[in-house]
């Protein structure tokens, strides 16, 4: 009897304790999103206040038929996939290396992790000016040293350059997580496999890789969430250009909203970005749901 009372008490207390976070997040999810949907159906430009009128789906057709939209979707996917590829492959390699016995392992770890702690605007500006600049950058100096023409990275290969910068920022994250997972691999198992005469390659394929699969899943999931919204790196390096060569979906909506003041069009773009992100998220959530249960 007393016990039942106690549980009942704790249960309503628990609900009360959870309520603030749930309500806040619910409001955060619903209110702005509902407003975005509403705006997306209006002809609404901040430069022409008081002229708002219902526009149906015009904003959507306008946004979806804009050639910049396809370029933006392509660029967004290129950044996500390019960075994922570099960081996962590089991360596995680095994690395997850092897992070996060596002198000064702690210091190397610190060096490798550092880029992840750098704010995106600093990372992008340092790369843009001090490395990729075709006149004064270090890469230009290196090129001249070996007798090559300096290459203007951000003008001639803007998307590739941004992928490089973002991959530099995220490689430590992948490495750190894969290394953590690697270190939980049973030493005895490794030795047993070695005793059985398994070579380094087959040990990697049949023992290490399966053990890492969960960590790799997590790396892909978390990075995708963040990579879909890469913004600052583009803003301070190429500003989406030249033309729309490095414009992502996020950047396209930003430009529509805060540079052209087209509230309706930007909102339609925002909703499209949410839908696309949800398609990706659907698959990812299933993956993490499975790994969390395992």
């Amino acid at each position: 009897m007393g016990d039942a009372m106690a549980t009942l008490h704790t249960r309503s207390a628990a609900r009360l304790m959870i309520a603030p976070s749930v309500l806040l997040l619910l409001a955060w999810m619903i209110v702005p999103l509902a407003l975005t949907i509403y705006f997306s159906l209006l002809r609404y430009n901040l430069l022409m206040p008081g002229m708002e009128e219902f526009a149906g789906l015009t904003n959507y057709t306008y946004f979806l038929t804009d050639p910049a939209f396809f370029q933006a979707v392509f660029n967004t996917l290129a950044i996500v996939l390019g960075v994922l590829f570099i960081t996962v492959v590089g991360g596995i390699g680095l994690a395997l290396l850092l897992d070996q016995p060596m002198f000064g392992q702690g210091i190397v770890r610190i060096l490798v992790i550092a880029p992840f702690l750098i704010m995106p605007t600093v990372a992008a500006l340092v790369w843009k000016n001090m490395f990729m600049n075709p006149v004064n950058g270090l890469f230009a100096w290196l090129a001249k040293l070996v007798g090559l023409q300096p290459f203007d990275f951000l003008a001639n290969a803007p998307l590739f350059s941004i992928i490089l910068i973002v991959a530099w920022q995220w490689l430590p994250f992948a490495t750190l997580i894969l290394l953590t997972a690697l270190q939980s691999l049973d030493e005895e198992q490794k030795e047993a496999a070695q005793m059985d005469g398994a070579g380094a390659l087959s040990r990697f394929i049949y023992l290490v890789l399966p053990h890492l699969s969960r960590a790799i899943t997590v790396v892909i999931l978390i990075q995708t969430i963040f990579l879909l919204s890469v913004f600052a790196e583009i803003l301070v390096t190429t500003n989406g250009g030249p033309g729309t060569q490095s414009t992502t979906l996020t950047f396209l909506v930003y430009a529509q909203a805060l540079l052209q003041f087209d509230v309706g069009g930007a909102s339609a773009g925002g909703i499209i970005a949410v839908i696309l992100a949800n398609i990706v998220a659907f698959f990812l959530m299933r993956m993490i749901g499975k790994t969390l249960e395992a």
Binding site: T10, R11, A13, A14, M17, I18, P20, S21, V22, L24, W28, M29, P32, L35, T36, F39, L97, L98, M102, F103, G104, Q105, R109, V112, A114, P115, F116, I118, M119, T121, V122, V126, N129, M130, F131, N136, W141, L145, I177, T180, A181, A215, V218, I222, L228, F231, A232, L235, V236, L249, Y254, A257, G269, G270, A273, V274, A277, A281, I288, L292
Partner: protein
Amino acid sequence: MARNVSTQRKLVTTVLAWTIGILIFFPILWTFLTSFKTEAQAIASPPAFLFFDWTTENYFEVQSRSDYFKHFMNSVVVSFGSTLLGLLIAIPSAWAMAFSPTKRTKDVLMWMLSTKMMPPVGVLVPMYLIFRNTGLLDTRSGLVMVLTLINLPIIIWMLYTYFKEIPGEILEAARMDGASLAKEIIYVLTPMAIPGIASTLLLNIILAWNEAFWTLNLSAAKAAPLTAFIASYSSPEGLFYAKLSAASTMAIAPILILGWFSQKQLVRGLTFGAVK
């Protein structure tokens, strides 16, 4: 013989790992070195690595020209403010979910995680308009609110995984001894929960300090934290490498130091406890 081979191997690994480590770290090292050069030395060809006239004038210049300290304080207020506010809201929730879980707890947690999946650009327009119409645009309190909301799911998840590890038997033992709920919380649970709370605090300060979507879009001259302050160097002025480097070094140094102390928490917090 075998020992010889393994020492040799260790040496090779060491050299390889250090080379790669230094290469990865090099842009940061280079920024640090450049911040002590004059502008002329900063763009000298061939570049000067260590042998130049070290000067600290860039640091003073950055402070006097663009009031660095103001932006630094904005970063401190915004990152600490949003983290503390987030903890205040999240601790009771994570606590309740960890110690009196129901059938729906896992679903609630997954739902909270899913709010992170929404791309910020999906709500950029209404947030900008709401901020403009309520006078929150370019204020620290506005940034604190937004950053609290976007990091809340991570804070809750992280605390939840830490609280989950506090053994329930200890609670029962305390209850058997007749401890009241208040005593239970103060004397038994809090000491065990503090390490988890501290780790969560650290990671979220790092995340908030480096957040560069909302801080760039919702702040201007007055409330701009360091992320937005540095972005102002993307204009042709950014070609002043030495000053850019000095400003960058000051912007990243505090977090670099904090981050190095919290490698483990980084993994745990950002993987939602899925990798330990």
